[in-house]
Amino acid sequence: MKAQTKWGWLIAIYLFLAGLGGGAYIAGVLADFAGLTTGISQIGVFLGLPCVFLGCMFLIADLGKPINFWRAYMKPRTSWIARGTIIITVFMIIDFIHIILWIWPFDLLASAVGTRYFINILGLIFAFGTVIYTGLLLGASRPIAFWSTAMLPLLFLVSALSTGFMVVILSSSVIGVPKEGLGLLERIDIILIILEIFVIAFYLQATHRVSESRASAQLVLSGSVAPLFWFGVAVLGLLFPLLFDLIGLYGLSGSSAHIFILLASVSGIIGGLILRQVVLKGGIHAPLKSGRFEYGLTNV
């Protein structure tokens, strides 16, 4: 059975950027609550808006009739695309306010800690909404058993957090923020990567066990999508980041440790993008069953 071909790289890039932006914002806010160096949390908060906005550009580019994109708000009662459009719009507005009042051009929130924490929590809610709703959106496609599983939003959440932390670590290192706070983020990131390994393993095991999604799981594990999965997700997205992070944190020291951490972050971020594409390319619609015959769909 063939997988769907309508949602491809443009959608994968959007899913990835929405997760990355939301995850970076969450990392920034958590760093703020933990009292880490201001620079680190500001980078996280700052990255949220451009990443999600850029993602939306890819989304609009994928539309068949982009001029109607503003109509996407119309049916939040039943449609996850409509709900998601509202969620990410609110997130971007909150992040915009957060950036203006704290990072540039104003500095009001530096001292108004209560207000800042309030904005933090508000932004946190919608950032979580941004990274989770995409899993629920795919899950609403009931005939695609590979997507309509409870594990998918969890998978997208863990991947978004992991890549979000990585991009904050990466950006902070590139800009030259003092390193003390980064150590905590790097340690949390290792835990997130390990968590992600488990979640991906459970996801593939669960979808393999259920007969409706077995064809999809086999496509990803040993079929045409397997090279993308094993090299792009398992190695680039999970193995290399874990290994390089461990080496960088506990094996080496100084500038070579630094380089390993950067490599881990870059590798993990690329892996996050490829994970979204793997999920999309594994989407097989359930066949139509009539009597003893099964018919695959031909329109997607």
Partner: protein, 209 residues
């Protein structure tokens, strides 16, 4: 309330694709769009293999997945249960194509001709067909079977029903227990495809027996 439904008799269908051709002619669907398409299926191995053609069309579900997931409200359902797409509202996200369990939503990026000429020019018939298609549909947006609502309003049958030489397709009011389609469903054990999706399709199939 009249609820339009179909009955397709799988014993009579012998896979001639007349329904596909008639629908294409009546609705001027371009290449890549087949509102009334037939899917061929085989089971078993020689010498005990079997073939069965499955004619499909939009099931006009009572609780359509496509309508639920449409973010712009372009997908609507009229009082007779027929689901339509408003070409001015659709943004072409393709969510309906993922959500439809029966594969009956279509989206094409451009009009492609079945009869390409050396110069690329369209003859009068193809121009006419292209214009008729663009009246109710477009490019980059979703399109689907609408049970030939135009024809039904005039008191005619959908094109595929009229065209079927085996008289395997029936159209009528499935809310009326005495209509031809209701009687066929009851008497000949009409079934729905993949009812587990819970959409309650309005197209019933009579088993090949």
């Amino acid at each position: 309330m009249v609820k339009y439904g179909f009955v397709i008799d799988l014993k009579r269908c012998y896979g001639c694709y007349s329904c596909t051709a008639a629908c294409k002619a009546a609705n001027n669907t371009p290449m890549g769009v087949d509102f009334a398409k037939c899917i061929s299926g085989e089971t078993g191995t020689f010498p005990t293999s079997q073939r069965q053609m499955l004619p499909t069309l939009c099931m006009q579900c009572e609780d359509p997945e496509c309508k639920a997931v449409c973010p712009t409200g372009a997908t609507m359902q009229n009082e007779n249960g027929v689901v339509t797409v408003d070409k001015n509202l659709c943004m072409g996200c393709g969510y309906c194509m993922m959500a439809c369990p029966y594969g009956q939503r279509y989206k094409i990026s451009t009009w492609k001709t079945y009869f390409p000429s050396a110069t690329g020019e369209l003859d009068a018939y193809q121009s006419y067909s292209k214009n008729k298609w663009e009246e109710k549909n477009g490019y980059g947006i979703a399109s689907k079977c609408d049970f030939c609502l135009q024809r039904v309003k005039e008191g005619r049958l959908p094109a595929c029903v009229e065209a079927c030489p085996a008289k395997a397709r029936f159209f009528g009011d499935i809310n009326d227990p005495e209509s031809e389609v209701s009687i066929l469903i009851r008497r000949d054990r009409g079934f729905q495809l993949n009812p587990e999706f819970g959409t309650n399709p309005s197209v019933y199939y009579l088993p090949a027996r």
